[in-house]
């Protein structure tokens, strides 16, 4: 029932990949120009400029393979408004250790207007609640129990072309041994409310 959207590793703040990209572009340009004057110097500049980007790309691929895909398990297939229960977050964890886990329950409005160049879209988080998680790290994977409560007064999941209301469980893992990682899981909340 729950749609899994695992965004995977986040490479720090994005500053290192940006610097690596700039070094690559500038280095290739300067190296290409220098190549005409001196083949050895030109080639050395281009190889040197490629290294940071290659390291960032290799690290990203390695982490993506190592961490795999996270899943969210829930006992109930259907979730109404006011529902309470646990969800289990499971992620492969090969060699990395978890320092902190931040989990949030969010309800997001998403609307679109126009098409082509005039296409615009807006997103607004209308419910944002921190979730208290219980972490049970294993050798090869992490199990996180997340107690969830869907607000009784919240809107159910809604979809109409260009207009959506979605519920999300979003997690951000701060880790040692690898860059931070985050996951988002879409919940389908039914238009019915549990009795008090």
């Amino acid at each position: 029932m729950n749609e899994i959207q695992d965004e995977g590793p986040v490479l720090g703040s994005g500053l290192i990949p940006m610097i690596a990209s700039i070094v690559l572009l500038v280095g290739l340009f300067v190296g290409y120009k220098a190549y005409a004057v001196d083949h050895n110097i030109g080639a050395a500049i281009m190889i040197g400029a490629t290294l940071p980007a290659a390291i960032v790309a290799w690290q990203f691929i390695r982490l993506r393979r190592a961490l795999g895909t996270a899943t969210l398990h829930m006992n109930e297939e259907l979730i109404p408004l006011g529902w309470s229960g646990p969800a289990m977050y499971v992620r492969p964890l090969r060699g990395a250790t978890i320092r902190a886990i931040e989990a949030r329950l969010q309800c997001e409005e998403h609307v679109e207007r126009g098409s082509g160049r005039s296409h615009r879209e807006w997103r607004k988080i209308v419910v944002d609640e921190p979730l208290a998680v219980q972490n049970a790290p294993m050798m090869e994977q992490v199990w996180v129990t997340i107690p969830l409560t869907i607000p009784r007064s919240g809107p159910p999941t809604f979809w109409m072309r260009d207009n959506e209301i979605n519920w999300w469980v979003r997690l951000r893992l701060t880790m040692d041994g690898c860059p931070n990682t985050r996951s988002s899981f879409k919940l389908s909340v039914m238009p019915a409310v549990v009795e008090r």
Binding site: E77, G82, R123, R161, P191
Partner: protein, 127 residues
């Protein structure tokens, strides 16, 4: 003049919205009066509308009884979008401008009964 009277302005999804449409005018007789139950989503995005049910009549008093789908949507007043339910009536007048009226109502969540939704899930899976 066309008037809409609702028996209740708040209903749950899966229940019925009931009431009547009354035509009151001297000398004018509409060719027909159309009554529709509809919802629309409006706000910053594109406006969308869906007519759930409608019927036409030549009477001056038209009772109506429309079922609100169990799947909703529910009435919602958010930041970027609003979902509005309403009964709309339109009188088609000969040689004159049509008259219309709208009566909004609120759809709130029905009580949760997992069996109702599981059966539907099974039906969808079979289909």
């Amino acid at each position: 003049m066309i008037r809409i009277a609702l028996s209740d302005t708040t209903v749950r999804n899966g229940e019925h919205v009931k009431g009547s449409v009354t035509w009151e005018a001297e000398g004018k007789t509409p060719r027909k009066i159309e009554v529709a139950c509809r919802w629309r989503v409006e706000g910053r995005g594109r406006t969308r509308e869906d007519i759930v049910a409608s019927h036409e009549s030549h009477e001056s008093v038209i009772p109506f009884d429309f079922e609100i789908p169990k799947e909703g949507p529910l009435t919602y007043d958010g930041t970027l979008l609003r979902i509005i339910w309403e009964i709309a009536a339109n009188a088609d007048l000969p040689m004159a401008r049509d008259e219309s009226a709208v009566a909004p109502f609120t759809v709130v969540a029905r009580m949760w009964d997992p069996k109702e939704w599981e059966e539907e899930d099974d039906d969808e899976a079979e289909a």
